[in-house]
C-alpha cells in the first residue's frame, strides 16, 4: 500500500492517549482489567469494611480498626473494588451506501470511530471485537495493544471493498455477529440506519446486544442535509440499493425532500421502538452540515462520542 491510510483517524498526536472507555456501570465485565466496577474484587481502591470471617485472606484484616471495636474476637477486614476488563464490540454498517456522500463518506467516519475506540480500548487493556454489518468477512477480536493494529487492518480491508451501490445489500450474518457478541460488554453500532431490515436480522442483532446485561449503543450518522444541499431542481439519478427513478432527468421539489426527511425520521423512530429492550443507549446523531469537511466534523464529534470520555474527567455517562 502506498500513500497515507485514509482510515486513520485524523486527530492530533496524543488525543487518543487522553481518552478512555466509558461504558457505563451496568455492563458485564470479565477477568482483570483497568476499569473499577461496583463489584468486590482485587484492587487498591478501598470500598468498605466487613466483619472478618474464617477462611478469608488474613492480609485483609485492618488491625487498627479491629482494635477500635473494643472486642478482641471481632476483627474487621477491608473490602476493595474490583478492577474489571471490558469488551467492546464495534459494529460498522458496511453497506455501499455508507460511502455517501462522496465528498464526506459516512463509512470513513464510522471507520475512524471504530479505530479510535479500538485504540482507546486497547490502551486500557480492554478487549475489542470489530465486525461489519452487511459487510464482508467475519468479526475480528483483539485485546490490549494489538487492538489498534487489528482495527487498522479491519478498517483498511473494509474500505478497500467498494461493493455494488446500485443493488440492495446482502442480508447481514446475524448468527456470526451474535456468536461473536458473547464475551462482549458493550456493542457500539455505527450506521446511518437507512437500510431495510425486512428479514428482521438486524433487529435480532440489536436485541441480542441487549441480552445478558449487555448494552447496545447506536451511533447514528445523519448526512441528509449534506446530500440534499442544492438538490431541488432538475437532476439525473443513479439507482442506490435498488431504488431508481428511471431514465432521464427528474424534477426534485422541496416538498419531495421534506417527504423524504419525514420518512427517514419515521423509519428511525420505528427502529428505536423495535430494538429497545432496556439496554439501548441512542444518543443524538452526528449530523453532516450542508458543506461538510469530514475531518473537522470528526474532530468536533470526538468529545461527544458515546463509549469514550477524557481520562481526566471520571464519572459515569
Amino acid at each position: 500500500m502506498s500513500g497515507p491510510d485514509p482510515t486513520a483517524p485524523p486527530l492530533p498526536p496524543g488525543v487518543i492517549d487522553r481518552l478512555v472507555l466509558d461504558l457505563g456501570r451496568r455492563v458485564p465485565a470479565h477477568g482483570m482489567g483497568g476499569h473499577l466496577r461496583r463489584r468486590l474484587g482485587q484492587s487498591l481502591e478501598f470500598r468498605d469494611y466487613q466483619p472478618y470471617a474464617a477462611g478469608q485472606d488474613i492480609r485483609r484484616v485492618d488491625w487498627r480498626a479491629s482494635l477500635r471495636t473494643g472486642r478482641r474476637d471481632h476483627w474487621v477486614a477491608r473490602r476493595y473494588e474490583a478492577e474489571a476488563r471490558l469488551r467492546l464490540m464495534v459494529v460498522v454498517d458496511a453497506r455501499p451506501a455508507m460511502r455517501l456522500p462522496v465528498a464526506a463518506p459516512k463509512l470513513l467516519f464510522a471507520l475512524w470511530v471504530a479505530r479510535l475506540a479500538a485504540a482507546v480500548a486497547g490502551g486500557g487493556q480492554d478487549a475489542v471485537t470489530l465486525a461489519g454489518l452487511f459487510g464482508p468477512g467475519p468479526p475480528v477480536a483483539a485485546e490490549g495493544r494489538r487492538a489498534a493494529a487489528v482495527a487498522a487492518s479491519f478498517a483498511r480491508d473494509l474500505w478497500a471493498v467498494p461493493g455494488d451501490l446500485a443493488s440492495p445489500p446482502p442480508p447481514p450474518d446475524d448468527r456470526a455477529l451474535i456468536a461473536a457478541m458473547e464475551p462482549a460488554s458493550t456493542v457500539l453500532l455505527i450506521s446511518d440506519l437507512l437500510f431495510e431490515d425486512s428479514g428482521g436480522r438486524v433487529r435480532e442483532i440489536a436485541r441480542a446486544a441487549q441480552r445478558a446485561h449487555r448494552q447496545l449503543i447506536v451511533l447514528e450518522l445523519d448526512s441528509f442535509a449534506a446530500e440534499a444541499a442544492g438538490l431541488p431542481g432538475i437532476r439525473l439519478f443513479d439507482p442506490v440499493e435498488g431504488r431508481g427513478f428511471g431514465p432521464g432527468a427528474r424534477t426534485v421539489a422541496v416538498q419531495d425532500l421534506a417527504a423524504a426527511r419525514a420518512a427517514i425520521d419515521t423509519h428511525r423512530a420505528g427502529l428505536r421502538a423495535d430494538w429497545g429492550r432496556g439496554g439501548l443507549f441512542w444518543p443524538p446523531p452526528v449530523v453532516w452540515p450542508e458543506v461538510p469537511v469530514l475531518a473537522d466534523l470528526f474532530a468536533r464529534s470526538v468529545p461527544h462520542l458515546p463509549a469514550l470520555r477524557a481520562a481526566t474527567a471520571r464519572g459515569s455517562r
Binding site: A97, M98, L100, P101, V102, K106, L165, D192, L194, E196, S223, F224, E227, A228, G230, L231, G233, I234, R235, L236, F237, D238, P239, V240, E241, G242, R243, G244, F245, G246, G248, A249, R250, T251, V252, D256, L257, A259, A260, A263, I264, H267
Partner: protein, 533 residues
C-alpha cells in the same frame, strides 16, 4: 481574418451552448429509497446556472457589513445635499496693501466693504434665509469669518495676486453655511477665465485708477571675460506710463541717484544698470512713489560680486575679466601634464579645471569629425568645416574618469571632453601663432570653453520691499498697478437658490454596516432560541 474571427466566435458559442445544455453527472443519494417518485423533467437542466454560493442569511449579512465598511473607507465618498432656497454667500475680500490706497473719502477696502454690505442687504431683501462667510485674502486666504467681522478687516502689508483670490472663491464647500453665491471684492481685474467652482463667482473690481510708481526687480551680475565689471541692475515701473521717477541707492558708500533709462519694449518700465557697489546692505528708494507706498522701497543684500576666480597656469596672459585666485574653489586652467591638472582630473582630488594640451602647435591638419554631442555653449561658435580642415591633435591621454567626449574624430579620438561635477573641460591649448586658421580656431574653442565655465552670470535678488518704517511687504510687486481701469461690474443676482453642500457618505455606510451586524446577531439569537425549543 474576419471570417476566422466569426468562425472562432461561432465555435466558442456552440461549445458554451453545449456546456450550458449538458446535464450534470447523475446524483447518488444514500436516502434514495425514502424519496417519493419524482416527476420527469420537461427540459434538461442547464449545466451552469446563476445561484448564490450560500443560502445563509447570516453569511450575506456579514458580507454586506464588510462591503459597507470597506466602502466607508474608500475615497470620494460624499454626496451632494441640497436644501431649500436660501442664500449662502461667500465674500472673498482682498485685504492686500493696494486695498489701502485712497479711494474717494476712504480706501479701496472701505469701498469693497460697502459693496459687501450692499450685497448682503440685497440678499436679505430677496427673502429667505441668508448666511454669509467672509474670507479675507492677502498673501493667503484666512479662515472663514462671519459677516459681523467685516468691520474688523484692514489692509495688510502683503501682496495678493488674482490666483489666490480665485482659489479662495472656488474652494470646496465646508462648514455650516451651504454655498449658493460667491463674490470677490478686489482691485484686481477679473481674470479672463475663472475655474469651475461649486457656484458661479461674482467678480467686483473696486478702486478708481490712480498713478503709481514702484520698484519691480533687482539683480546683480558678475563680470564678463570681455572686461566688463560686476553690475547692479534695477527695474522700476510707472502706472500708467509716465515720467521717470527718481531712484536712490543708499548703502555703505552713501547715497547716490541711479540713472534710469526706459526699456523700449516695455512702456512705463525703466532700468538702472550701474557698477556693482560692493557687498553690503543697501536700500533703494523711489520718489515720487505714487499712490502705493508698499513698492517704493526695497532692501538689498549684495554679495561680493567679484570676477570669476581662476587659477591661471598657462603662459598666455589671463583675460581681464577674471580674478586671479588659488585654492580648491578656483577654476584651474593648466596644461594637462602639469601636476596641478593631474590632481584636478583625479576623482579623489577633483576641482573645477580646464586642462589643455598642445594640439595646435605646428598648425592644424585635416581630420574627419566623428561622433559629437550638441553643446552650444562649447561648440556653438565653431565652424566644423574649418575645424575638419585644420583639426588639432587629439587628446594624448586616455579620457580621465568622469569625463565624456563632446567632439571626436572618426577613430574616436577626443578633441573636446567635459565633466559635469565638478565642472571640467579637456581641450587643445590656445595657439594664437599657429599658421592658417588654426590660431583663430584654437582661440574660439578655448575661450568658448572658458566662458562656459567661468562666464558672466546674472543673479536675481530676492525682492524685499519695505515700508518707510521698515515693515516688510512680501509680494508688493503684485500691488503696484493701481491704475488699472475699472471693468464693468458683474451682474449681481443674489436671489435664493438651492444650497449646494457636500455631505460625507461614510457615516451612513457605517450605520448600514452596523445594522447588518445587528440583524445578523438577532438572526443568530433567534435561530438559537428556535433550536433550543
Amino acid at each position: 481574418m474576419l471570417a476566422l474571427a466569426v468562425g472562432v466566435l461561432g465555435a466558442g458559442g456552440w461549445f458554451l451552448w453545449h456546456l450550458l445544455r449538458r446535464p450534470e453527472a447523475p446524483r447518488v443519494l444514500s436516502f434514495a429509497r425514502f424519496l417519493p417518485d419524482l416527476a420527469r423533467a420537461e427540459r434538461p437542466r442547464a449545466r451552469l446556472t446563476l445561484r448564490p454560493p450560500l443560502r445563509s442569511a447570516a453569511f450575506w449579512l456579514r458580507m454586506a457589513a464588510a462591503v459597507l465598511l470597506l466602502a466607508a473607507l474608500g475615497a470620494g465618498l460624499d454626496r451632494p445635499r441640497t436644501g431649500g432656497p436660501a442664500v449662502g454667500l461667500r465674500l472673498v475680500v482682498d485685504v492686500s496693501a493696494s486695498m489701502g490706497v485712497a479711494d474717494g473719502a476712504g480706501t479701496r477696502l472701505d469701498t469693497a466693504l460697502a459693496v459687501a454690505r450692499d450685497m448682503l442687504a440685497q440678499a436679505r431683501a430677496a427673502g429667505g434665509p441668508v448666511c454669509a462667510r467672509v474670507v479675507a485674502v492677502a498673501a493667503g486666504a484666512g479662515p472663514p469669518l462671519g459677516e459681523d467681522d467685516l468691520a474688523q478687516l484692514a489692509p495688510r502689508a502683503e501682496g495678493a495676486g488674482p490666483s489666490v483670490l480665485v482659489a479662495a472663491a472656488v474652494a470646496p464647500v465646508a462648514g455650516d453655511c451651504p454655498l449658493t453665491h460667491a463674490a470677490v471684492l478686489t482691485d484686481h481685474r477679473r481674470p479672463p477665465v475663472l475655474p469651475d467652482g461649486p457656484v458661479p463667482v461674482i467678480w467686483r473690481q473696486v478702486g478708481v485708477p490712480v498713478a503709481n510708481a514702484g520698484i519691480v526687480a533687482a539683480a546683480e551680475g558678475t563680470g564678463s571675460l570681455s572686461g566688463g565689471g560686476a553690475v547692479l541692475a534695477v527695474e522700476v515701473a510707472t502706472w500708467p506710463p509716465g515720467a521717470a521717477p527718481s531712484l536712490t541707492l543708499t548703502g555703505p558708500g552713501g547715497a547716490r541717484d541711479l540713472p534710469l533709462v526706459p526699456l523700449p519694449d516695455r512702456p512705463g518700465h525703466w532700468a538702472a544698470r550701474v557698477p556693482h557697489p560692493g557687498a553690503g546692505r543697501y536700500a533703494l528708494t523711489l520718489a515720487p512713489g505714487g499712490a502705493l507706498a508698499a513698492d517704493d522701497r526695497m532692501a538689498l543684500d549684495l554679495s561680493t560680486a567679484a570676477a570669476p576666480a581662476v587659477d591661471w597656469r598657462l603662459p598666455q596672459p589671463m583675460p581681464r575679466g577674471l580674478a586671479a585666485a588659488s585654492g580648491p574653489g578656483a577654476l584651474l586652467v593648466a596644461a594637462i601634464d602639469s601636476a596641478e591638472a593631474r590632481a584636478a582630473l583625479d576623482p579623489a582630488t577633483a576641482r573645477p579645471v580646464i586642462a589643455v594640451w598642445p594640439g595646435w602647435d605646428g598648425g592644424g591638419r585635416p581630420r574627419q569629425i566623428g561622433a559629437f554631442v550638441e553643446a552650444p555653449d562649447l561648440t556653438g561658435a565653431l565652424n566644423l568645416d574649418v575645424f575638419e580642415a585644420e583639426a588639432p591633435l587629439p587628446l594624448p591621454h586616455p579620457l580621465p574618469p568622469g569625463f565624456s567626449a563632446v567632439l571626436t574624430d572618426r577613430a574616436g579620438q577626443v578633441f573636446l571632453a567635459r565633466r559635469g561635477v565638478p565642472p571640467g573641460l579637456l581641450l587643445p591649448a590656445p595657439a594664437p601663432g599657429a599658421p592658417g586658421q588654426a590660431g583663430a580656431l584654437s582661440l574660439v574653442l578655448f575661450y568658448q570653453g572658458l566662458a562656459a565655465l567661468a562666464g558672466q552670470g546674472v543673479r536675481p535678488l530676492t525682492p524685499d520691499w519695505r515700508l518707510a518704517d521698515g515693515t516688510p511687504v512680501p509680494g508688493a510687486g503684485l500691488e503696484g498697478d493701481t491704475a488699472r481701469p475699472l471693468d464693468d461690474p458683474d451682474p449681481v443676482d443674489l436671489s435664493p437658490r438651492a444650497a449646494v453642500a457636500r455631505a460625507p457618505v461614510w457615516p451612513l455606510l457605517v450605520v448600514l454596516a452596523l445594522a447588518c451586524l445587528l440583524a445578523e446577531r438577532a438572526l443568530a439569537l433567534w435561530s438559537g432560541v428556535r433550536r433550543a425549543v
